[in-house]
Symmetry: C2
């Protein structure tokens, strides 16, 4: 007998070699599995993540599930127990017991990623692990307009780095927002999509920054999508600025289905 727990977590990715367990590397999955194995006094517990964030990528709302053997531990107690065993760069926010037909990867309806870019000439020391860096002039309104062309259902092959294992690259982009934080001298990009391909957000951000900087025309997005060719956008924004913000398991709320009749 075992109980399935769904847990929501935040982590600072800058000292992890990504989410997924790798031999002899410090990873998020490996850290959580080690704690669970201690709790079970040696029984192996496999952690499933909603997605594998890369080295340096952060999470505010990553979701995992695992099957915990033995007696039921109340969700609040599980939350406390795991938090007590976590290093300071991981924190669990929420804990639930779920049905075994819930799967953290297969049950998602979409994900929300946020990307922060600092426009400072020289990086703010307190942001160096938490923002990408683009010390060039950008026209935010150009990026806002170009981003609208990403909305809807498309084959996103042009925005998928090689290395992904998924063949079907058709996804639905529900929501894109580009906003300037003048006080922080940052640009914040938000993307809600039915699913993301490998490095997709970082490639999208690199492309939008080129449009904002005038290196690409504002109407370049439909052409790039149509080309289905990764060579169209060669840049990839740094991992540093990327946050897995939220994972949806319910219908994507109306307010996050921008101008779409989906």
């Amino acid at each position: 007998m075992s109980i399935r727990y769904k847990m929501t977590m935040a982590y600072d990715g800058h000292l992890f070699h990504g989410f997924q367990t790798q031999r002899n590397q410090r990873t998020v999955q490996g850290t959580v599995e080690a704690a669970l194995t201690k709790m079970t006094k040696g029984k192996e517990v496999i952690v499933q993540g909603s997605g594998r964030t890369d080295a340096g990528v952060h999470a505010l709302g990553q979701v995992i599930h695992f099957d915990y053997p033995g007696n039921i531990i109340p969700p609040k107690r599980m939350l406390f127990a795991l938090n007590s065993m976590m290093p300071l760069d991981i924190v669990f926010r929420k804990s639930e017991i779920v049905n075994k037909n819930f799967h953290v990867r297969y049950s998602t309806t979409g994900k929300w990623y946020r990307y922060r870019v600092s426009l400072d000439k020289f990086t703010n020391p307190f942001k160096r692990f938490y923002t990408g860096h683009y010390p060039y002039p950008v026209d935010v309104s150009k990026m806002q307009r170009a981003a609208q062309d990403l909305l809807g259902t498309h084959d996103f092959t042009s925005f998928a780095a090689s290395g992904g294992q998924i063949k079907n690259k058709i996804r639905t982009m529900y929501y894109v927002n580009v906003q300037e934080d003048k006080k922080e001298n940052e640009v914040i990009f938000d993307f809600i999509c039915s699913g993301f391909l490998y490095n997709m957000v970082r490639i999208l951000v690199a492309m939008l920054l080129e449009i904002g900087n005038g290196k690409r025309p504002i109407n370049d997005v439909p052409r790039i999508i149509k080309a289905k060719n990764r060579q169209e956008v060669r840049e990839t924004a740094q991992a540093n600025g990327l946050f897995l913000y939220h994972v949806f398991y319910e219908d994507i709320p109306k307010k996050h289905r921008q101008d779409l009749d989906l």
Copy 2:
């Protein structure tokens, strides 16, 4: 011949062994001096700081001066040159040429330190290097009221850790503020004083938290000041949460001389 430069800088202290040069340790002063020595092609340049922040302590407005040998470099160019040579955890904000009777330590009229405390039960991973941590209930209004007793000119011996070399421990506290940031679940402490003794802010914060938590009476401050005994407050808040916020070289502005006719 040499030119004296006054420069304002920010740094993330968490990977430095403090400000002051130490053999075989990564320090702020050592990092800046190494860059200047490169610029002079080997001539030693000594950097003077307004104060020596401890390991883990951050700065938003640290001020340094140094005498640069040879021809005048315009301040903007000096700013750019030094920033280009700095690691990502240091940034220079401002550069000025000053008269040789300006001294970054002897010319100050006061300093402003800020201390951030997270009240979260488990530390937010993104704040672990930038806040102290006090996961206990606190009554902010009690701390606000008690803090007022620090204002004015006092012998602050009770709040000075051993290790300081200065005998005269009389200072003038111009401004104290304790505020709650409910959104961040933090308490922010601000202190503007004519000068700070060794670990003084961290000891003051530890004492105020004890008052906020009800471990000490709200009117304990005058008694502790009068005792002139470091043993009165045994706790010292962590270095992590402390920021050197601003150094004053002009008269302390009226708005920062709280309820005082000084």
